[in-house]
Subunit: 210 residues, 4 copies
C-alpha cells in the first residue's frame, strides 16, 4: 500500500462516536469493546492522533451516532437490526453521561460536529459531506468505534463520495478481533488508500506533500 501523503490544508481528522458509553469504563458498551480497545491501546492512540492533528493544524471533525431520545424509532415502519438494538439499549441517551463525548474528545472552537447519524455511516442523512466541502477537505483520517459498523460504513461512504481515506488500525475498536479482521483485512483495503498504525500516521502527517 502506498505511503500516505497529506496536504494538511486539505486533510481532516474524523473522530467517530467517542461517547462515554463506548470508550469509558462504566459505559453501556464498555464490557463489549474492552478486550479490543485495551488490546490495541485504541483510546490512548485516538487521543495521541487528536492532539497531533490539532498541533499540525489539521481540521478536526466529529461524527456522532444518534443519541437516544424518547419516542425515537417507535413510529418507523422499517428498520435495520442495528437500529433495533440501539432502541432497546437506549445507547448514547441524550443528556446523559453515556451520550457525552469522553472528556479528552470535547470539541474545541473551530472543530466541526456533524449532525447525528441514525445508522452507521457518519455521512448518511447528515451534513458531514457538506462540512467537508465547505472547508475544502479531500483527505480523511478515520478513527473511533466500532470497526465493522460505523467505521466500515463511514469509510465506504467516504470512498463512494470521492474522499481519500486513511484508516488507523490501532485507533479503531470493536466487539472482537474477528470484527477487526473483517474491517482491516477484508473490507478497508478496497476503500482506504492507506491503513496505518498510529505511529506511522503521525510520521506521515509531518512528512507532508505539496
Amino acid at each position: 500500500m502506498a505511503a500516505a501523503t497529506f496536504r494538511l490544508d486539505q486533510t481532516g481528522l474524523l473522530v467517530v462516536d467517542p461517547y462515554n458509553d463506548f470508550i469509558s469504563e462504566g459505559g453501556k458498551l464498555w464490557s463489549r469493546v474492552r478486550e479490543v480497545v485495551e488490546g490495541n491501546r485504541c483510546i490512548p492512540h485516538m487521543i495521541e492522533i487528536l492532539e497531533a492533528a490539532r498541533s499540525a493544524g489539521v481540521r478536526v471533525y466529529f461524527a456522532p451516532h444518534h443519541r437516544w431520545r424518547p419516542g425515537d424509532y417507535e413510529t418507523w415502519r422499517f428498520w435495520a437490526p442495528i437500529q433495533e438494538g440501539s432502541a432497546r439499549s437506549k445507547n448514547f441517551a441524550d443528556g446523559t453521561w453515556g451520550g457525552t463525548f469522553r472528556d479528552e474528545f470535547t470539541p474545541k472552537p473551530g472543530e466541526i460536529v456533524a449532525q447525528e447519524h441514525w445508522c452507521s455511516s457518519g455521512f448518511a442523512n447528515t451534513d458531514l459531506d457538506l462540512q467537508l466541502k465547505k472547508h475544502g477537505t479531500h483527505q480523511l483520517i478515520v478513527i473511533g468505534l466500532r470497526a465493522n459498523t460505523c467505521i466500515d460504513s463511514t469509510v465506504r461512504y467516504a470512498a463512494e463520495l470521492g474522499y481519500e481515506v486513511t484508516l488507523v488500525n490501532d485507533a479503531i475498536g470493536s466487539f472482537g478481533w474477528e470484527e477487526m479482521k473483517a474491517t482491516l483485512e477484508i473490507s478497508a483495503p478496497n476503500y482506504a488508500r492507506a491503513i496505518l498504525s498510529t505511529k506511522e500516521l503521525i510520521a506521515s502527517m509531518f512528512r507532508v506533500g505539496a
Copy 2:
C-alpha cells in the same frame, strides 16, 4: 432473526453486477469467484430467484458496476484502491461480452436498470434510490456479486437510506470464503432484516403479508 414477510407490491429484487466478466466462464474475474460460486451454487440460485420474482410480480432492478471506457479515472485526483484495480483490469469494458449481463439476466421490459455505479454501492451517485421510490418499493431482496464489496456496500446503503433488506446467503458470491463470512456473519446481520437461503426466500415470497 425474524422471518421475512413481504408485501409484494412494495418489494423489489435487486440484482447486482451480473456481468459475464464476473459470473460466466471465460470472464475476467471468473477464476477468482469460481470456488465460491460453484461451492454455493450462486448462479443457479440467482436465476431461480429472478424467475420466482418475475412470476410473483415482484419488480426487478439491476445495479450495474461502471463499465470501463477509455479515459476513465485518468483525470481524477483521488481514488479508492478498488477503483485503481478496475482501471488497471478494465473490468466490464463497455461494448464487450465481459461488460454484458450474462444471458439469463437480460432485463425484460418494465425492469429497471439503474445507472452504473463507480465504486461499490449500487446507490451511490446513481438513480437507484429514485427508481425505488418512483415504484413505491420499500423492501429489497439483494443478490449478486461480490459479497464483501458491492453487496456489502449496497446493503449498508439500503439500510442507511431506509429500506428493509433481505440478503440471500447462497445467491451471492465472492473471491473466497473468508469474504463470504465477513459479509454474512460480521457485517450483514447489522443491516439486513433477514438473511435467508434461496429455498427459504422462495418459501417466504409466497407466504406474503398484508
Copy 3:
C-alpha cells in the same frame, strides 16, 4: 392541474421554518414578510392545515432552518449569499424566542422534526428523506416560509427525490408578491402535482383515494 388524491397513510404534511423570527410579530423577519402573510392569511391557513392533518391522521413533519450558533460559518471557505445573510442577521438564534417555533406549531409526540438545514432545502444534508421513507410517506403537502427560497428549494428537492408534492398557495409566504409569483407561477407548476388553496386542500384531504 389534476385534483390531488391522497392516500392518507402515504401522505405527510411538511411544515417549513415556522419560527417566531419568521411568523410572529416582533420576529427579526416579521417586517419583511408581513405584507404577504397578512395579505394571504398565511398563518391562520397554516394552523388550519396543521389541525386538519392531525385530525385526519396525516403524519406531520417539520423542516427547520439551521439555528444560528456562535462560530457558525466562520471557518467555511465557500458560502452562498443567503448563508452570509443568515450569518450577519443571526436569524433563528439557538436558545432564543426567535429560534423557537411559534406556539401553534409546537410538535406533538409522533411528529417528526428533521435535522436543521443549512441553506434552503429541507432535504439537503438532513435526515428528512430518511424519515419520510421510514414512515412510508410518498405524498407531501408543503406549507411555510419563504416561498422563493426554502419552499421552492424543498419542493424542487422533493420532486427530484421522487415524492409527489402538493403546494398550498395561501399557506406559504415571502418578502413580496413578486417572489410569490415566481414560485407559484414560474417554478412550482413544474414540480408540484397540485397547487391548491387551503380550502381546496382540506376538501381534497377528506376525499381520499384508495
Copy 4:
C-alpha cells in the same frame, strides 16, 4: 455583488443540456426558446465561454438531461409535471439528432459528461457531485438551458452541496423573459456568489486569485 475570483485549478465550467432539441434550429423546443436565446445571444455566449474555459485550462463538465427511451416513466407511480411533459414530448430522444449535443458542444477528451438527470438538477441522482470532488473542483460556472428549471435547480443544488456558483446572465436561456427574471432577479441572487455577463466572466477568469 462581489467580483468573482477564481482559482482555476478549483474551477469548473458546467454546461447544462446543450442538446439540439433545445438550442438548434429545428429542435423540438427551439420555437419556445428562440425569443430569449436570440435576444441575449445565449448560444454564441455559451460557445465563447466554453472556448475560454478550454483555453484557460478550466475543467469542463456537462450535465445532460435524461434522453427519452421507450418504456421510460411508464411504470412510475409518482412523477412531477415536468416529467410528464418530457414523457409526452419525447424530448432529447436517445439516438436522435435532438438528443445529441449541438456540434460546438461535443465533449473533448478529459471533459466530464455526468450521468443523465431525470428531472432538473444536474446533481440529483447522478455522479456530478462525485466527479467534481474527484477533480478537486469547488467553484462552478453555470451556463445552458432552461433558466427556471434545470439552471435554477442545478444552482440551488450546487449551493446546497457546498459549491461556490457563478451564473452567467447572457449564457442561459428559457421559454420567456418572465422566467429569466424569476431566475436572475428572484432566485439566483440567494445562491450564486456572482451573476456576471459573458464579458465580465471572461475578464474575471483571467484575473485569477491565489
